[in-house]
């Protein structure tokens, strides 16, 4: 990994993402951005200012790269399909899919096209596509704007799926995703988009497929991804007060999965809790539990615990949404149960 060394500033994840886009576009003329409002409607009349996607992440980029920031109609199937075709033929598109929930309207270009070309065509194709998409609950955005559907893309061979937990990793992972010759889904959890961390100014990449121990510990391993890393860290603080030493592993990449890092922390502590914002069935948490049983059975001193969202659509009402989501308190409870 290119270790970030030079000057760092504290900026929110959304800004770190914009910075990665700017660096990627400046360093490679084939990188283009596509999405709804990413250019804010293009050139504006006097006295108005453009937006940059619904959360203004790409605001201003169109001024620097007028031909390469493309506002699209609300046509997700067209956007994704076009981006896949462009990627196959020499461009390096970065698509903004506003919320991952909308993947329902444009799954085919990912499921049956981008993911399969390399293999189906006998190793001849490259699809250097990045899809940036917002995931997660917590803003009362309800059933169709709050889902964490990365388990769908992580389950499709040929696609890579990454999810940062902080601004610095967001920048490095996005740069790695854009420069990857494989299609990558880059998840932007709502819970971290406006949280700030130190972000180095220079161009650096966080290699896809590498998890990171973000807090060392010896009694129990807490494995998180995206916004649940923060929950795991908060839980570790709480557990420490009880004299329990928790190690926190940030997956960062869901596909490929850093199996070695998961097994290493399990070997160290013998106990593992995995925290996932998604629904429990057929998901990342279950996958990790299976890995621990399959390849780490001898390390286990107890069951693998999964702390996930509930198996229902995301409810609107604040009280229900809180009950739906995983939380630091539920991680603490699960970890205590193992000791």
């Amino acid at each position: 990994m290119t270790a970030p060394t030079k000057s760092a500033r504290t900026i929110p994840t959304a800004f770190a993402i914009a910075e990665a886009l700017r660096i990627a576009m400046a360093s490679d003329p084939d990188v283009i951005l596509m999405g709804e409002d990413v250019a804010g409607g293009g050139s504006r009349p006097e006295g108005t200012d453009e937006m940059g996607g619904i959360l203004s992440v790409t605001r201003g980029l169109v001024r620097e790269f007028p031909d390469r920031v493309l506002d699209t109609p609300i046509s997700e199937m067209g956007i994704l399909g076009t981006a896949v075709g462009a990627a196959l033929t020499g461009l390096r598109p970065v698509v903004e899919l506003m919320f991952m929930d909308f993947i329902g309207t444009c799954l085919d270009p990912l499921l049956n096209q981008a993911s399969k070309f390399r293999y189906m065509f006998g190793g001849k194709a490259r699809v250097p596509l990045t899809v940036r998409t917002v995931t997660g609950a917590g803003l009362q955005a309800a059933a169709q704007h709050s889902q964490s559907l990365y388990w769908i893309t992580a389950g499709i061979p040929g696609l890579k799926t990454v999810i940062p937990s902080n601004a610095a990793d967001a920048k490095g992972l996005l740069l790695a995703a854009i420069r990857s010759d494989d299609p990558v889904i880059f998840c932007e959890p709502k819970g971290i988009l406006f949280l700030s961390t130190d972000v180095p100014e220079e161009d650096y990449e966080v290699p896809i497929g590498t998890a990171k121990v973000v807090r060392a510990g010896s009694d129990v391993s807490l494995v998180g991804m995206g916004a649940t890393v923060g929950m795991a860290l908060a839980a570790a603080d709480e557990l420490e007060r009880d004299g329990i030493s928790a190690e926190v592993l940030d997956l960062r990449s869901l596909a490929p999965l850093d199996e070695d890092a998961i097994l290493a922390t399990l070997a160290k502590t013998g106990r593992l809790v995995v925290v996932d914002e998604a629904t429990p069935r057929c998901g990342i948490a279950s996958d990790i539990a299976a890995l621990c049983v399959d390849k780490g059975f001898d390390f286990l001193n107890g069951p693998v615990k999964r702390v996930t969202a509930a198996m229902c659509p995301v409810p609107f009402s604040r009280v229900l949404e809180e009950a739906y989501m995983p939380s630091a308190a539920r991680v603490v409870e699960a970890a205590r149960g193992l000791l």
Binding site: G40, F102, T105, A142, A143, A310, M311, C312
Partner: protein, 325 residues
């Protein structure tokens, strides 16, 4: 086309509907400012005549599919504002038990198939309702409300093609408010009128002044009557304007204020309606004022009830995922 003159009763209902929508939405903005409401909220202010005009031709047996900007459609279709307000507060007494929120208000008994968080998703749903009406011979129609932006979705084109082929009793009401989020319509739509898109499907089409209740009422009435007669679907484009931002909290930096002011000051559907009905002596000013007072009271009452209503029981989180668990 023979113009249909609305009766006094229809006009009174129409005014009450439009005033209720306006007051409901203005109250929401106030409640958000006071920190009382969460979630994503999109107001229908400026577009009232479209929902009121179309729904004045519908009954509970007709089905309507709505959008993220759905409060107006719900109110015009007869959904109880108390249940709607309680829903926005996330209360257990909400019309969807607090589970849906603004973008998912539905009332199947009223023929309201739901607001929708997915742009374009309501269009095939209304098409399906029209299929039910046709096969079960209910005499009902399926009506889809959707924006100009949604007419760029494949779901729009696929639905219109199917409805035209099957001669379904469907009416596609495009609310062309000039904007899709922060992008002007002409940046993403190459045709001058959305109505032109009907030609690809050999479908009947009409354009209405979406700020004029009378025009929307007459043209949607003709389209709905045609659908009921079994003569097939219509694409009805209503030219309108979104007075406020895309969502509550939108800073509107991207929109020219002069453009908005023009519509707000000269093309307000409530003002246009009032001057017409008063000028032509169709309704008395006192009637309108009485309705204003009644609507204001009703909204206040809805807010007080919603604020006092208990929140849902978190223990019920897993209820209703399936009909039978």
């Amino acid at each position: 086309m023979r113009t249909m003159e609305p009766t006094e009763e229809i006009l009174l209902v129409a005014y009450r509907t439009m005033r209720t929508i306006r007051s409901f939405e203005e109250k929401l903005v106030e409640l958000v400012t006071r920190g009382k409401l969460g979630g994503f909220l999109h107001t229908y202010i400026g577009e009232e005549a479209v929902a009121a005009g179309v729904c004045a031709n519908l009954s509970d047996d007709d089905h309507v599919a709505s959008t993220h900007r759905g409060h107006g459609h719900c109110i015009a279709k007869g959904v109880d504002v108390r249940g709607m307000m309680a829903e926005l507060f996330g209360a257990g007494s909400g019309i969807c038990k607090g589970r849906g929120g603004s973008m998912h208000i539905a009332d199947l008994g009223r023929g309201m198939l739901g607001a929708n968080g997915i742009v374009g998703a309501g269009i095939p749903l209304a098409t399906g309702a029209a299929l039910t009406a046709k096969l079960k011979k209910t005499g009902g129609v399926g009506v889809a409300f959707f924006g100009d932006g949604a007419s760029n979705q494949g779901a729009f084109h696929e639905s219109l093609n199917m409805a035209a082929n099957w001669k379904l009793p469907a009416v596609y009401v495009c609310e062309n408010n000039g904007w899709g989020e922060f992008t002007p319509t002409e940046f993403v739509v190459p045709v001058a009128d959305i109505a032109e898109r009907a030609r690809s499907y050999a479908m009947h089409s009409l354009i209405a002044d979406g700020m004029d209740f009378f025009d929307v009422y007459a043209k949607s009435g003709a389209a709905i009557a045609r659908a009921r007669r079994g003569e097939g679907p219509t694409l009805l484009e209503c030219k309108t304007y979104r007075f406020a931002g895309h969502y509550v909290g939108d800073t509107l930096v991207y929109r020219n204020k002069l453009e908005a002011d023009h519509w707000i000051n000269h093309r307000d559907p409530l003002q246009i309606f009032t001057s017409r009905v008063v000028g032509d002596r169709l309704l008395a000013v006192e009637d309108l004022q009485r309705i204003d007072r009644e609507v204001a009271d009703r909204i206040e009452e809805a807010v007080s009830a919603a604020e006092a209503a208990p929140l849902p029981d978190p223990g019920d989180l897993l209820e209703d995922v399936y009909v039978q668990r």
